[in-house]
């Protein structure tokens, strides 16, 4: 491992550990507070159910953490969810693929959609924000065009296992998420690939001069982002039993909110998967807890927004003190 790649990495976790610890403390306090208000909140049943509901966002938030650490952004994830959901349904129902093949095909389309993002960003040097805004419209338009706004329904019973079933009492998709969180976390903390991402985000020019393959790493993270969106689409279709072109609309904001709340710097160079996982759980449980306490939908969004601003303020003041 090169010295250049190690330097920012060694610096990052020390500060991040503090941000995450703080976040975890806030999460526990919020949990206890909301639990005291409502006896139905802190039940195993409810918490597992919330795990089921947050899985789609969580799956996409993992590669999104990678993307944001490199200093990029991917706004097209929600549109890829819609496109992949449509591809899954249509390749099965209209093109006559067997369902397992249709799932593989949909994952392939998702990976391809992400790959195209990465390719244009690295080769043509289009800023990620511009490129993924463009593909947000493009992919959603494709989903609309292919489906003509019709839905696909009537999947066989086994297909619902992923989205509605459970293993040993734990929702199936939550297990998938937990495994992938660990894989992504270890990949980011313990592999050369992970270090490369921090190096790119801290100083891309320096990373290039250190002979790191910047373009390849970026291509991989955007492809992973597309792939994870496709996986989320599969989980979502299985959970709600139907395919619609408007699926995943607005997901990009929920995903980015979870990542940023988890302490990943929007300017790149720092952040962890563990922080993202806490950020994700925090948003979901806050929403749920408030809803159960009788706060209405519109007011919940206000509280989430306030929590987001507060956490960014805390994070930046911590960072300033460290500097």
């Amino acid at each position: 491992m090169t010295v250049a790649a190690q330097a920012p990495a060694r610096k990052a976790p020390r500060w991040l550990a503090r941000h995450e610890t703080l976040l975890a403390v806030i999460l526990l306090v919020a949990l206890a507070g909301l639990g005291a208000f409502n006896e139905r909140f802190l039940t195993i049943d409810n918490l597992l159910n919330q795990g089921r509901l947050m899985t789609e966002i969580g799956l996409i938030a993992l590669p999104m953490t990678f993307v944001i650490i490199t200093g990029g952004i991917d706004l097209s994830v929600g549109a890829i969810v819609g496109l992949c959901a449509i591809m899954l349904g249509y390749s099965w129902k209209t093109f006559g693929f067997p369902l397992p093949l249709a799932i593989v095909f949909s994952l392939f389309v998702g990976g391809l959609a992400g790959f195209v993002n990465g390719l244009v960003i690295t080769r043509v040097k289009v800023p990620p924000l511009i490129m993924t805004i463009a593909t947000l419209a493009l992919y959603r338009g494709l989903a609309e065009g292919v489906s003509q706004a019709h839905s696909v329904r009537g999947y066989p019973e086994w297909f619902y296992f992923l989205g509605q079933g459970s293993v040993l009492g734990v929702p199936t998709q939550l297990l998938v998420l937990v495994v992938l969180v660990v894989v992504a976390g270890v990949a980011l903390d313990r592999t050369t690939f992970g270090r490369t991402l921090y190096a790119i985000g801290s100083n891309e020019t320096a990373a290039r001069f250190s002979a790191l393959n910047v373009d390849r790493a970026k291509l991989i993270v955007y492809t992973l982002s597309g792939l994870a969106s496709a996986l989320a689409a599969w989980v979502l279709v299985s959970r709600v039993t139907t395919t619609r072109m408007d699926m995943g609309q607005g997901y990009e904001l929920d995903v980015i909110a979870a990542v940023v709340l988890g302490g990943t710097s929007i300017f790149g160079g720092s952040g962890t998967i563990w922080g993202t996982a806490i950020g994700l759980a925090m948003i979901q449980l806050l929403k749920n807890g408030l809803a159960l306490t009788g706060v209405k939908g519109d007011a919940t969004i206000v509280v989430i927004g306030a929590a987001l601003i507060l956490s960014v303020l805390v994070a930046s003041s911590l960072q300033r003190r460290r500097d």
């Binding site: 139905r40 159910n49 839905s151 329904r153 709600v240 039993t241 809803a291």
Partner: protein
């Protein structure tokens, strides 16, 4: 855009040329081929419902709350729009009248099915006695509603149905033949029994519109046999195109054209605008499906006399009454009607649906009471 318009116009002309020869025997353009069931002519003819076995779902061991206070939650497609504000107001009216019902409306701010599912899921956890819903997707909403039933929560739909086995009852705002009757009767009243009219629809194959047109034809044949259908034109649900199509019809038929039907909430105001711009208010009648807010200017300046739709306040009101009757055991599978307060007795149709009644006609006298 422009080429689509030209193409549609060309197609409409071609079809018109073809149909003017064939219309005597054939069906109206834009009608579907399904069997029709025209209602009896004249006013107030009560329909005897065709009995079909109950096909709704049932909650598992619901607590017996007959006569006790119940807490309901209403999760519409989305909140913050006039239409669902109106259904919500109807629910509050009913709750106040009944006295032993508490109902809150909460839902997504956009008509997104996955958001709606999360709302319902949370309310199941928080433990309500009943859920009222208007589904964003009839199939996708089914699993979460079945979950509610399995936890002993009563489930009643309104406005937009789910698959029947995922809820106990559905309050149906209007049947196709009911809308068709209201449309044809209003038109006959305005242009006379021997007037000629044309129809502006979305496309010839749009399911709801095609159903309405087929029912209108059947009802006209039965009750207004001398009225003359000229032509149906397609206008997507495009404001501009609807206006152009209506203007084309006015120019093409001149004095012969006495009335225009708008089959969509876009086509109706656009047709009214075309008639206004042509200076033919009072000479060419416009009757159609539309929301009151879009039609207020035309109704107030006398260009449009009747707008056909249902009353969403009554719809919400009926939903709460149906829920109360269901919880109290006064509405059971197999029953033929249910008592709904000021709305009187409502009939059960199609197994597990409750029909709100004939469509509501908005006119100068009542349109200002509605804001959606």
């Amino acid at each position: 855009m422009k080429s689509r318009y030209l193409l549609t116009t060309a197609a409409a002309f071609a079809l018109a040329a073809w149909s003017s020869g064939a219309s005597a025997a054939g069906k109206w353009d834009g009608a579907d081929d399904l069997p029709t069931n025209p209602l009896a002519c004249g006013a107030g003819a009560a329909e005897t419902p065709v009995s079909k076995p109950y096909d709704g779902g049932q909650p598992t061991n619901p607590p017996n709350k007959a006569g006790k206070e119940i807490t309901l939650v209403d999760v519409p497609k989305l909140i913050g729009i006039g239409y669902f504000n109106a259904t919500s107001k109807g629910m509050q009216d009913a709750a106040k009248e009944l006295g032993d019902v508490k109902v809150t409306t909460d839902g997504p701010t956009e008509a997104k099915i996955d958001e709606q599912i999360k709302f319902i899921d949370n309310y199941i956890t928080s433990g309500v006695d009943g859920i009222l819903f208007a589904a964003n997707d009839p199939v996708a909403i089914a699993p979460v509603l079945k979950k509610a039933l399995s936890k002993g929560i009563h489930v009643v739909g309104y406005d937009a149905n789910s698959t029947p086995d995922a809820r106990e009852w559905f309050v149906n705002q209007a049947e196709f033949n009911g809308i068709a009757k209201a449309m044809m009767d209003s038109m006959a009243k305005e242009i006379g029994e021997d007037g000629s009219f044309a129809i502006v629809t979305s496309t010839f194959t749009t399911p709801n519109q095609a159903r309405w047109i087929a029912e209108m034809q059947a009802y006209a044949a039965k009750c207004h046999p001398k009225m003359h259908w000229l032509e149906t034109v397609e206008a997507q649900e495009d404001n501009n195109l609807s206006f152009n199509q209506a203007t084309t019809l006015i120019n093409k038929y001149g004095d012969k054209l006495k009335g225009l039907f708008g089959m969509t909430s876009v086509a109706t105001p656009a047709s009214a605008e075309a008639v206004t711009k042509a200076g033919l208010c009072g000479k060419v009648a416009v009757v159609g499906l539309a929301t009151p807010n879009a039609m207020k200017p035309y109704v107030h300046d006398g260009c449009v006399k009747s707008v056909v739709l249902w009353n969403p306040i009554d719809l919400g009101y009926a939903a709460v009454y149906v829920m109360r009757a269901d919880v109290d055991g006064k509405l059971k599978p197999g029953d033929a009607s249910v008592d709904a307060g000021k709305l009187g007795k409502l009939n059960v149709i199609n197994g597990s649906e409750i029909l709100l009644g004939p469509p509501f006609i908005y006119d100068k006298g009542n349109i200002d009471k509605f804001d959606f």
